[in-house]
Symmetry: C2
Subunit: 312 residues, 2 copies
Amino acid sequence: VDDFTAAKIAIVGTGAIGGFYGAMLARAGRDVHFLCRGDYAHAREHGLAVTRVDAADFTLPEARVYPDSRDIGESGLVIIATKATANAELPAILTPLVGPATTLLTLQNGMGNVEFLERHFPDNPILGGLCFVCVNRTAPGVFENSIPGGGTVVIGAHRHAGEADAGAAARLFSGAEVKAKASASLDEALWRKLCWNVPFNGLCIAAGGVSTAVVMESGTLRALARQLMEDVRAGAAAHGHAIEDGFLQKQFEATDGMGPYRPSSLIDYEAGRPVEVEAIFGEPLRRGQAQGALMPRLETLYYLLKAICPAP
Amino acid sequence: VDDFTAAKIAIVGTGAIGGFYGAMLARAGRDVHFLCRGDYAHAREHGLAVTRVDAADFTLPEARVYPDSRDIGESGLVIIATKATANAELPAILTPLVGPATTLLTLQNGMGNVEFLERHFPDNPILGGLCFVCVNRTAPGVFENSIPGGGTVVIGAHRHAGEADAGAAARLFSGAEVKAKASASLDEALWRKLCWNVPFNGLCIAAGGVSTAVVMESGTLRALARQLMEDVRAGAAAHGHAIEDGFLQKQFEATDGMGPYRPSSLIDYEAGRPVEVEAIFGEPLRRGQAQGALMPRLETLYYLLKAICPAP
């Protein structure tokens, strides 16, 4: 396993996450090809641009963008950054990109994505990457990284891929000025990531369409955010992963630094787009409950979100 | 204690509940005086009207309505049917109505109302009445009773009043073609009433502004309604009241009969008026938790409602 430095890299989904990380990789000289559907015409003409809160902005006027994955063809590393709500469309999109030596890396939110990929590509190494970052697509082809330090990507291996692959993928990102590290347990990393996504993606919608700052500044919503983290922790514990108090505390500190951030789920909700309710809320609830964990607040939030968010 | 048949009766708040029950009492020949502020001019000219789903409609063209409680004066029975969110205004409104021999009966939703009255009128008998009914104010001075059979009023005594007073008040209603009964425990009756109000008033708002029929027809919202009832039952149990499975089941059967009913809290919420979040959700949560009950779903719902409903 090399570190994918020389690999042909396909970015599937040039939204906030795919656009930002793909642009960072391309800027570092990697061979990056963007599948870019909605913004294709704009990106073809103007390229892609990244704005950063504490580093220089940059543009990639010649970014290689494509409207169809068949125009990209077989790649060494396929990075998936579409919404989990659109997974049903993924196999047809991925098939032209995936050959026997292709590694798949999903940067999608929530649980169930690596298993979904495994069902369709059982012979390929599959990695999951958790993006602890604040990125928004602020205009066609423009991606804004609004968290000081640029966030971190944690990469772990699903069954068929080994730790070496996760380490190589982490080095690929590190080599492009993105903080990244490999995790020995993708499952644990997913549960940890949900300690943020469940309370903040959830409450920012269910509390009436508010930013993270409103949750942080309300005594009761902040308390509820902590209780929801405890539910996620109970699910993680039932799966053998101990999450320490300090980690939960760090989530609050990191969120304080975000200001009035609007999580991607809230942006999707307000735009009338499907929200990743199953990946972020439903699937962890089911997995925790299957192991006997009590997660009553997560269950309440999940049922409410299911009711108020448009179905995919 | 007589049965209030000859008493001067003041109705404080001629909204859905006060208008409907006051009209039923006036129609039966009782000496009823309506404090009617918003709809005063209309009611003065046109009287009050009741429409019923399975009984004859009627009007009271000469209903005695007043814009100010000082025009009514001291009464034998004061029936309070204002929103609990407006309790701060109540003492000034009630003072002209209350003498040493006055009995107070609150028909307000939720917990804390009898204690509030007791603080301000510690020497008067205080009763609480729970209205298991569907009534809406459909136009100025027009009250629609949409539940077959007309519902039931359960009346219990707070500390200073005895069971005899509750029985007398129940007979007053029974004598006006309103099904009514006295309860030996107002506290238990309040917990039982909340088995409906918590899930249905709550979810109809928090699930995005939906009728009870939407909650009943959604597998997950219906399950959540049942779980919320279990939380209320846990609070009741912690206060020594055993609520049987059959009672919870009956709440679902009764709700099936309501069709697409919009609870009063939802109507208030959608009109931008304050919602009785503390009386229906906050106070029972605090009382249950004070006795060690676990009510995590009610707590989640309460915090969300607090965030999305306008403050009084």
